[in-house]
Subunit: 471 residues, 2 copies
């Protein structure tokens, strides 16, 4: 028998489970025995797409719809799938995990996929237990609570300017809730976009939705409640004083930190970013040594940035998916001894896409600010163009910005803000361009397919590359 | 003064013109004199998108709309832009071109962009001058004539099963014209798709349009006309006998050959494929030597296939666009002596996309049949999936097939047939995967961006790569 124990049932844990299930026969043949899988998760759902939750707030579908596979369905497949279950202690020497209930589980392979926890401003942390209609947005229970608070709300307040914060603000505005978004300077989605690109999104949102952006060095000082304990207003303060903003629903989506308490309590090491340190095979490290039977992945681990080579968090479902494949391969490899199965997770470029109220935003690689912080000099080129032949009906505008290494002229980063489709796919193409070190000139001379109903002969990002060379 | 003479005003010639115009200052500074450009074209239009013409037959816009820049507008920019003008003799020693009118033009740089001519079945060639409503489809005049013939037509006949043939058949069917398409076995778009993928398109077209496909080794034996000389029926024959098919409008879109008579008459060499031979800089060859002042590009030249390394035709607007950039760079480089400007056209993967009546078809690299003909053993993987999260409204089906080298497991070809968008962009991504030699495993482990409203966490082509590895 081989027992794999997975702690965490978010996208990371679930994908390890799925990958192992799809290779069950192969594993059982190699092990010469049965494959037992236990998955522990705190939430009550099975496989639920948290990335789908912000769209449920927009009434595109119901929250329940995002549950792709119910816990019972995994149980029917022979998985010991335990919801509302918490692991409280981990012992990598004894290969065991103790649950809150006191039960102790043994494992042959352990997978740590404990995810992340929202980081709260101090004043919010203090008020959170007393003031109602103030929420974080990390899982389906949060989504249900936000959805309930949105009913009859007139004023909304969102702390954060990342993807989830902006998708929440759009959901508020679509319901007629007058919304304020508080984030730092200089613009929106700073981990994905330079300020000039973020401003295109900001202008679009201001023009199309009733959203006010406060992008300044300000923080929430207090949450004021009415007699029934419901939030009534948010008091914010900065260098220029205080402002009280009316709000009947508040969402804090400012950032999050990796959940590593369980791992750290067992001596598993974390890095500067706060995430669990792993090798390329996703093995965790303890006392300077990587453990062949303990893996970690997803929002709780560090990755290596492909451009800066520094360790950082990735916190994207797409990273977790690939890491899950690596871990499944390496569990198979460890059992079978077959070298061909062995996989590695390579330095990360974080290709990212988000639909934010009718605008698509994509990004991969490094931003100008990250380049500056890392002492990398870049050539930047920007362009705006339509998505297909000018004479074709329905052409929409795409804005692209490419960043190249100033010396080698190789692509280091790409940003797109667009009302046309095809952003995710362009980001995926540019991701490969970064990985394989394409230069601006090579991008200009690269043949791309053309049909006037679908594309321009010369795409917006080719213009951006040309403009970078002229810069 | 520098005089560049361009023969041909299709996409190839026009893009050389555009690229030179956009760099006029740079060229004039380097030359220490004025840049004179003459463009000769047989047709009466300026810059016209021939790829847009099939959509005009579907009434998406008028034929005139596809003229992006009028001849007069080029004249206003100081270009000697001559429409309805034919070059009849070329002398590369005297650096001169004689026109049909007798006029002789001298050049410093010559660009040959003479395009292609439809290849007609013998019986059609004979009948073409006597029978009305029988058309080729190569330019705007053809489109105008087809459009006129479509009025009141009840039965349509299309010879060919390539992109233009199928787009024409869809235009017929959309107007209620009962349409027959005659092409060879085994299925549709054989230069782009394996038969199993071509059949997905064929079934879609049969189910959604009144189109009958005859995909057999049959050829047109005769075109029968009524008393007024209008086509009435098409007589086709094959091994199993003859069939007469009623038709009031006939389009022959079976293939085309490069227009190389002018070049050949000057001693410029053509290759096995019939196209003009060039080096990577797009210089033509004469008596075994490449001429630094004569370039050729577009449908009249040979390219080197990136997979088979054989010379073949490309005949895509996208290839011409890149070749135009290479030629403009090399004219600048030749004038300025600056090595940095020098460019090369690399072996060709022919990324191709076409919208055919609500279905998108994309392809890049080689098909199974081409692999077989070249003795390349492949691993193939196919998959069908939806375009975005299952729980999201509006998800459509995408079919993908990937071909890998059986030994190295590197990607050699990709095919997509899809009712969802994002095909062009996936083909562009897979084009880079081919260029940079990605293996099936690397494709499986490559992180791609994700948003449930836009993409699946694991794309259809990643499944296809996994299936190829299992095969």
């Amino acid at each position: 028998m081989v027992h794999v124990l997975i702690i965490g049932g978010g996208i990371a844990g679930i994908h390890v489970l799925q990958d192992l299930l799809s290779r069950r026969k192969e594993i059982e043949n190699a092990a010469g025995g049965k494959l037992e899988i236990t998955l522990l998760k705190k939430e009550r759902s099975g496989w639920l797409s948290t990335c789908g939750l912000p769209f449920a707030l927009q009434d595109i579908y119901e929250i329940e719809t995002t549950e792709i596979t119910k816990a019972e369905e995994f149980v029917e497949q022979g998985v010991d799938f335990r919801t509302q279950t918490e692991a409280v202690e981990l012992n990598t020497d004894k290969k065991s995990v103790r649950l809150l209930s006191g039960e102790v589980l043994k494992y042959d392979f352990l997978v740590i996929a404990t995810g992340r926890t929202p980081v709260l401003p101090k004043a919010v942390e203090d008020a959170m237990n007393n003031v109602k209609r103030v929420h974080t947005f990390n899982n389906e229970e949060d989504a249900e609570q936000i959805y309930a608070s949105m009913k009859n709300a007139k004023n909304g307040f969102v702390r954060g300017r990342g993807i989830i914060a902006l998708q929440t603000a759009v959901a508020f505005a679509k319901r007629g809730i007058k919304t304020t978004v508080l984030g730092g300077p200089p613009s929106l989605l700073p981990s994905m976009l330079d300020a000039d690109m973020g401003d295109i999104l900001k202008e679009y949102l201001e023009q199309n939705y009733d959203i006010r952006f406060i992008l300044e060095r300000k923080e929430i000082k207090a949450l004021n409640a009415d007699d029934e304990g419901n939030v009534r207003s948010v008091l914010i303060e900065g260098a220029d004083g205080e402002e009280e903003i009316p709000a009947d629903v508040v969402v804090i989506a400012r950032g999050s930190r990796p959940n590593t308490e369980l791992a750290r309590s067992a001596g598993i090491e974390t890095g500067e970013s706060g995430g669990i340190i792993t090798d390329k095979a996703m093995h965790v490290r303890k006392k300077g040594k990587f453990l062949r039977d303990v893996f970690a992945l997803g929002d709780c681990v560090e990755v290596v940035d492909a451009i800066t080579h520094k360790r950082r968090l990735a916190q994207l479902a797409s990273a977790a998916l690939v890491q899950a494949g690596v871990i499944a391969d390496n569990i198979v490899s460890e059992i079978s001894g077959e070298a061909r199965a062995y996989s590695t997770y390579e330095p990360c470029t974080s290709p990212t896409i988000a639909a934010i109220g009718g605008m698509l935003v994509g990004s991969v690689g490094i931003t100008s600010e990250e380049a500056r912080r890392n002492g990398i000099k870049v050539l930047a080129g920007r362009a705006q163009k339509v998505s297909k032949a000018r004479y074709f009906p329905g052409a929409e505008k795409i804005n692209a910005k490419l960043l190249f290494d100033a010396h080698s002229e190789r692509l280091l980063g790409a940003q797109i803000v667009s009302s046309a489709e095809g952003v995710a796919e362009r980001i995926n193409e540019l991701n490969l361009a970064i990985k394989f070190g394409m230069t601006a000139k090579e991008i200009c001379m690269n043949e791309r397919c053309y049909d006037p109903s679908l594309a321009l002969l010369k795409d917006v990002f080719v213009d951006a590359a040309e403009n970078a060379l002229k810069a």
